[in-house]
Amino acid sequence: MMDWTLSIAILIGGLMLSMGIGLPVALGFFLINVVGVFLFMGGARGIDQMISNATMAVSTYSLAPVPLFLVMGSLFFHSGLARRVLDAIDVLIGRLPARLSYLTVTSGTVFAALSGSSLANTGMLGSLMVPEMMKRGYKKHMAIGPILGSGGLAVIIPPSTLAVLFGSLARIDIGALLIAGLLPGVVLAFLYAGLIFAQAKLDPEAAPNYEYTPLPLMKRLGIFARDVVPMVVIVMAVVGSILTGVATPTESGALGIVAVAVLALLFRALDWKAVTDAIQDAARVTGMTFLLITASSTFAQLLAFSGASSGLVRWATSLDMGPTQTLLVMALILLVLGMFMDQVSMMLITLPIFVPLAMSLQFDMVWWGLIMLLMLEVSFTTPPFGLLLFVMHGVSPPGTTLPEVARAALPYILCVFLLIALVILFPTLATFLPSLM
């Protein structure tokens, strides 16, 4: 077997190269997959295996939120309901600069507390908010950033599918790990709000404060009753169905679509064109995103199969270091792997090595698990492979490039780093709530 450093150089170097020269990203992945298969999986028979593995990548039910929430969001937009609601909210909130960015973070936090899936969170907010925010003259990063940020919140604010998986693989009390994420999650939401405030202050043009005439209270209440209250129905359909156990977060998008369709009918906003446009948009974005997932998940398998990723992990953790350095190295490994792999693969590769190491250093495992989860959250938005980047790129305004999306995510990633520093400095942030259990 090849030395892991050479494997990593070939696979990751090759990937960077094939993307850098300008090949479509999915085909760049496939190109290097084919090369890698010949080197590590035994040539032609490996190609058949790769094709066969590729049929598994997106045929998994946990990806169903992607088409569902995309249909819901684009129907919301094309039917004009989105405009009504956001108009009303504009009138209600009034002068606050960048109010739609705050609204995004707030609703993202609330939805994070209901859904366990970052994908669902980003898919929903992205398709609901972005098109209208662009129409209102927001700069791209003011629309994209908050959504990517709050998409990741779903990972640490309970419930969280990823936290459950992490807890079971690392043998950490799942209930404690889930509840430990709540406080840091709220802190993170406030950090995001602070970030938006700073961004809007530094560049007032980024979130234009358009013409606004104050309305009397009665009139405001009237608008609220007419345009916002009905939308509660949509929220209830998604959120309520999750809370009451009628539907899983994976399925809740379907009920959201039904609610949007019914409301659009009632507002006489549902015409044939709105429906077909919504479906075509959803299909396009789903097709693009899923091809990327197919190509990149095969890449992640190769990275694991060739021994490249486990070699990296073993090497880095074999360096003899103190507790804090070791913790930082673990975080750094997750950051690097997260550029190229999905979260589940990362956990499968790193945890067998990390867990005994963390235990030997006598870390509080819940505290440690939370920090690792925060790093997994970051990997959702680190290029070149970032699942949320892809979904977000799909719903971004025309002409948006992938690097633009990644740049919009950057300050939000820094917020997560800041939070990690806070959790390291003040472990109580993570351990307080579990200690009450």
Binding site: Q49, M56, Y61, P159, T161, V164, S168, T248, Q301, A304
Partner: protein
């Protein structure tokens, strides 16, 4: 020195993989200078449902893989899950030789051992199940998370089936999307489901069907000395993992009971009816997919329930 590259169907820290590691250590110890096993990884290297195919293609040499994950390639693999006899007795009666003829031909694979045997699936519930007039367990109005292995059985008992990956079950149990699941005793606590579960239904049905297998070409490519070492270690591990499993299940069961999970035990005719229904479905499915070897396999792998 022969080097065998192995892949496991569970992540490295799950008990199945950890037990497999004991087998690997055993071979590497006995096989110094002759044969060594090198574990490449788990499901992050090849997706679980495609491992049977990878074995056939020889992508890796050795697999820790339940037969139930590639019934499409060898439908007769269901004999392991549908077996109510212990793996050692099945082996002594020629069961492994018999099924190896089929595995060689259909899966290009050689079965070394049926490991971690002696554990079946239990139903774990948050609601007490009813009993119908004819004594059968009644799961009407109960929503269960299920795997394809026992889904047909649970449906026969009236349950509504929800298909979910294991990671989503915690939240589903918490919110009542599902009222329970089927699962072996060991491993239940790993997912934290015990927090919400209130009842365990006994007896257990089916047997976990984890096999240590090798790609046939890789197996035949080993030196005779290496073959002997690997095969003998597999036979030893089959027995020791069975014994360890019995002890482990008792300890785990006790822990779960202390944690407040009440065991409902079916006895007498109720038990017979329950088990008959379960196993009949498994064997009927095997027969439906390929009847050729059904009778011969059932004669060895299955003891009639009276």
């Amino acid at each position: 020195e022969d080097v065998i590259r192995a892949v496991t169907f569970t992540p490295a820290q799950v008990s199945f993989s950890q037990n497999f590691q004991k087998f690997v250590d055993l071979v590497n110890e006995r096989g110094k200078g002759v044969v060594q096993i090198q574990v490449i990884g788990g499901p992050e290297t090849i997706p679980q449902p495609r491992m049977g195919e990878a074995q056939k293609n020889g992508i890796a040499d050795m697999f820790l893989l339940p037969a139930g994950l590639y019934l499409n390639i060898v439908p007769e693999g269901e004999a392991f899950a549908g077996s109510n006899r212990d793996p050692m007795s099945v082996r002594a009666d020629g069961g492994i030789d018999l099924i190896n003829g089929i595995f060689h031909e259909k899966a290009n694979a050689h079965v070394l051992a049926h490991v971690d045997g002696g554990a079946g699936f239990h139903l774990w519930l948050t609601k007490k199940p009813g009993i119908t007039e004819d004594g059968q367990v009644d799961l009407t109005d109960i929503r269960l998370r299920s795997s394809p292995l026992y889904r047909a059985f649970l449906e026969t008992l009236g349950a509504t089936i929800v298909v979910q990956p294991a990671a989503e079950v915690y939240t589903s149990l918490e919110r009542g999307v599902v009222d329970g699941t089927g699962y072996p005793i060991s491993g239940l606590r790993d997912y934290g489901w015990n927090k919400f579960l209130k009842y365990r239904l006994d007896p257990s049905f089916f047997q976990t069907d984890v096999l240590i297998t090798m790609n046939l070409d890789a197996w035949e490519g080993l030196s005779d000395e290496a073959k002997n070492i690997v095969q003998q270690a597999a036979i030893d591990h089959e027995k020791s993992s069975f014994d360890a499993n019995i002890v482990l299940n008792e300890e785990e069961g006790k822990l779960l009971a202390e944690g407040g999970i009440e065991t409902i035990t079916l006895t007498g005719e109720q038990e017979t009816l329950f088990l008959k229904t379960a196993y009949d479905i498994a064997w009927a499915r095997l027969k439906e997919r390929d009847p050729a070897n059904h009778d011969a396999l059932k004669a060895i792998f299955f003891e009639e329930i009276e």
